[in-house]
Chain length 428, copies 2
C-alpha cells in the first residue's frame, strides 16, 4: 500500500471524506466490544473445567509430606505444587515458594516489605529520601501502579527487539544507588511480545548495581504461553545466570497459573535464592497461616506434571492463534505500508503492541470508544500513564470471539487511518 | 479438695514423692501428644467434605452479578459471598469486602498499609517516632507478632470477665495520640473464652481517642463458634454501636471461615465503614486482581445461607463439646480447690485458659514436654512472649481425639500439681 505520508493534500482530503463515511457507517451499527483486557476467553476456561472434579468428598486429601491439606500447616506450599511450578519456572524445587492466587500480590508484598523492612538487612525504603525503579517501556501498567503507590520514582528505559536498552540499564544501576529495582516481563513481554535475548539476560545477571538492595523483578507471566508449537521464543533461566555471575540474590522471579488454569483461582509463586526465601518466609510467618493447599492439590492432580501442563498450553494456543493471526492479518491488510503505524508479530503472550504516528494514540482510542470499541487507555503502557510520544497502543485480542475481534480490529484500523490522515493534513 | 497452700511441709513432701512417682510412670509410657494448637480435628473437617463436590465441570459458574467466576473481575467479593459473611458478621452487605483465605493476612495488610500510607489521610506510621497498640492480655500471639514485626510498641491491658479493663483503655487512648490501635477478640476470646459485655462494647464505641487514625482491630474469629445450643454468649454488634456513638470509622471487624469450613482454604473478610472500605479498595486495586471467586462460590453453594452455616456449626459443637467438657472435668477433679490454678469454662471458641500460681507456667510446660505433651509455650499469650506473672497457659483441646486429650490433660494436671508443690515447698 502507498505510504499516506507521500499523499498530496487533495488525496488526503479525499481519503478523509471516504474514511469519515466508513466511520459513520460503523457508528450506526451500535457495536459494543472490548479489546482492552488481557483476559482469557470463556473457551479457554472451558479446557480447565475438569479441575472442578479432581477433589472429591470421598478423597483422602493428604499431600506427599503427610499433611492433611484441609487443615492448617505448611507455610510455603505443598511439595508437589512446588515441583510443578518449579518445573514450569525451570528452577530447582527448593528455590520456590507457592503463594495464593495472584503473582501481582506477591510483587506488591515484595515491594511493601522492602518499604517497611528493607531487603536482607538494608535500610527500609521508607527511611530513604528517594527510591527509584527502572521501567522498560512500553510495559505493564500494574507494575507501574505498584511503584507509584509506594512513591517510587520511575525511570523509563526504552525496549529494543532484544529487551530493555542494556547500556542504559547497566549505566544507571551502577551510578545511582537509589535505583532499587527494575520491572521485567522477559518473555512475550507485555505489551510487545518481545523475548529478551540470551545476551540481554546475561547482561542482567552481570549487573553491578550501586545499591546492595537492588533486585530484578522478573515477572515471567508468559513463560509457557506460546502460540506456535514449532516456532517458540526461548528465554534463558535468570536465577542460574545470576548465580554463575556471582549475583545469586539479585533476582525475584514471579510466575502464576492465572492464564493457564483460572485467572483469580490459580496458583502464584516466587523463585529466588535461599537468603531471599528466608527473608520472605520470615515475613510470611507473621502475615499468614499459609495459602490454599486444596487449590494447590487441585492443580497438581489436574496437570499431573509439567508435561501435562505443556499439553494443556497447546489447547490454549489453538484457541489464541487464530485470534492473533486475525488481528495481524487485518493490520497488514489495512495499514501495511501506509506509514501510519508499526507493530510486532509476537510468538506468544497476550498482546499485540501497536505504535501509531506520534501524537495519535489518544485520539485513535477516543475514536474507537466513540464507535463502541474499548481499547486499553493510551499511555497505560508507560509510567504515570504518560507516553511521551502518545503513540503506543496495547491490543488485547484474547477475550473477544473471532467475529467480534474482526469487527473491532477493522474499526481500530479505520480509526488509525482517520486520525493519521487528520494529522497529516494539519501539517500540510 | 484441700487447698495445697494449707498443707504442712511434711504433707507437701509426701505429696511430692507420690506425684513424682506418678510422673515417672507417665514418662515410661513414651506418649507424644499436642495440645498447643487451635486446629480443628480431622472429624471436624470431614463435615465439610461435600464442599468438594459443589462445583462440577459441567456447571455454569456465573455469579449473581453475571460475572464468570472462572475469569478476572470483581475485586471485593461476589455478592452472594458478601451476603453470607455479612449475615455471619451481623453487618450490612455493603460494609463487607471478601478477601482470600486468611483474616490474619487482612489484619497484617491493614497494619502494613497504615505503616506505609497512614489511615484515611493521616501521616504514615513509618514517619512517626512511635506507634503503640493496646493489647488486652492474655491474648492472641499472632496479633502481637504483627505489632512486633512493624516495630509497634505494645501496652498490656488486663482482661476482666467482661472484656478488657475499659477504664484503662479509655484513659490511655484519650491521653496518648501514639496509640493507634487495640487488638480485640471480642467473642469467646483467645485464650480465655470471654465475651465482651454490652457495656464493654458500648464503651469501645464511645472511645475518644487522641489519635484520629486510632482503630479497633475487632477480630471476631469465633463469632459463631458456640459449644451449646441453649447456652450461648451474645456480643452486640460494634459497627452499628460505633455509628450510633458518632465514631463510624473507628472499627475494622475481621472474620473468616477458617474454623467453619477448611483452615487455609476458607474465606476471610473485613467489615467496616464506607470511607474505610474506600481506602482498602484503593489499596486492593494496586495489590491484586481479586481473590478466588470459585472458592467464594463453593462456600455459598455449600452453606446456601447463614441458616445453613448455623446448622453446620452445630455439627462442630457436637464434636468439640465433649472435648471441652473432658478437659474441664479433669481440671476440676484434679485441681479443684487445690489453689494451684484457676480457669474459666468457656461457652465457645477454641481454647481454655489456665492460670497457675505465679511463676509456675514455664516449669509446668517444660514438665509436660518432657513427658511427651506439647503445650502452647508459656508467655505466648502476652506481647513479646513475656507473661509478667509466668502464670497463663493456653490449652487447645480441639485437635487431639478424646482418649489422647484425656491422657494429655491428666498429665497436665499432674505437672501443675508437681510444679505447685515444689514452689510451695521452696517458700516453706
Amino acid at each position: 500500500m502507498q505510504s499516506y505520508k507521500e499523499l498530496s493534500k487533495e488525496e488526503l482530503l479525499q481519503k478523509k471524506i471516504q474514511l469519515e463515511e466508513e466511520y459513520k457507517k460503523v457508528m450506526s451499527e451500535n457495536i459494543s466490544l472490548d479489546m482492552s483486557r488481557g483476559k482469557p476467553g470463556a473457551d479457554q476456561l472451558d479446557i480447565s473445567m475438569e479441575m472442578m472434579d479432581v477433589l472429591k468428598s470421598t478423597d483422602n486429601l493428604v499431600c506427599e509430606q503427610g499433611v492433611d491439606c484441609r487443615n492448617y500447616g505448611i507455610l510455603d506450599g505443598i511439595k508437589e505444587a512446588k515441583k510443578l511450578l518449579a518445573d514450569m519456572s525451570e528452577v530447582p524445587v527448593d528455590n520456590m515458594i507457592i503463594f495464593g492466587n495472584s503473582s501481582l500480590n506477591i510483587m506488591f508484598d515484595t515491594v511493601s516489605r522492602s518499604v517497611t523492612h528493607g531487603v536482607m538487612g538494608s535500610k527500609p525504603w521508607c527511611k530513604l529520601d528517594k527510591v527509584k525503579f527502572l521501567c522498560p517501556v512500553p510495559g505493564y501498567d500494574r507494575h507501574f501502579s505498584i511503584s507509584e503507590y509506594f512513591g517510587i520514582e520511575m525511570v523509563n528505559v526504552p525496549m529494543t527487539v532484544t529487551g530493555p536498552d542494556m547500556d542504559m540499564v547497566e549505566k544507571l544501576v551502577k551510578e545511582d544507588d537509589s535505583i532499587k529495582g527494575i520491572w521485567c516481563v522477559p518473555k512475550y513481554s507485555n505489551p510487545q511480545g518481545i523475548t529478551y535475548s540470551d545476551e540481554t539476560v546475561r547482561r542482567f545477571a552481570r549487573l553491578q548495581p550501586a545499591a546492595k538492595d537492588f533486585r530484578i523483578y522478573w515477572d515471567n507471566a508468559y513463560g509457557v504461553h506460546h502460540l506456535y508449537e514449532d516456532d517458540q521464543d526461548y528465554l534463558i533461566e535468570i536465577l542460574e545466570e545470576c548465580k554463575k555471575a556471582g549475583n545469586p540474590d539479585m533476582v525475584y522471579k514471579f510466575c502464576s497459573t492465572s492464564k493457564i488454569s483460572f485467572p483469580g483461582s490459580g496458583l502464584a509463586a516466587i523463585a529466588t535464592s535461599e537468603p531471599n526465601l528466608e527473608e520472605i518466609r520470615k515475613h510470611m510467618t507473621i502475615q499468614t497461616i499459609g495459602h490454599d493447599k486444596l487449590n494447590q492439590l487441585r492443580h497438581v492432580l489436574f496437570y499431573k506434571d509439567f508435561d501435562g501442563m505443556i499439553d494443556h498450553m497447546k489447547k490454549h494456543a489453538e484457541i489464541l492463534r487464530p485470534k492473533f493471526e486475525m488481528v495481524l492479518t487485518i493490520l497488514e491488510r489495512e495499514l501495511g505500508g501506509t506509514g501510519l503505524g508499526e507493530w510486532i508479530s509476537p510468538k506468544g503472550g497476550y498482546f499485540i503492541s501497536f505504535d501509531s504516528m506520534e501524537g495519535c494514540a489518544k485520539e485513535i482510542i477516543k475514536k474507537c470508544k466513540e464507535a463502541g470499541v474499548v481499547m486499553t487507555p493510551a499511555g497505560a503502557t508507560y509510567p504515570y500513564g504518560k507516553d511521551p510520544h502518545d503513540s503506543n497502543i496495547r491490543i488485547a485480542p484474547t477475550f473477544p470471539n473471532l467475529s467480534e475481534l474482526k469487527k473491532a480490529t477493522e474499526l481500530f484500523a479505520l480509526c488509525v487511518k482517520l486520525v493519521g490522515v487528520n494529522q497529516l493534513l494539519e501539517n500540510k
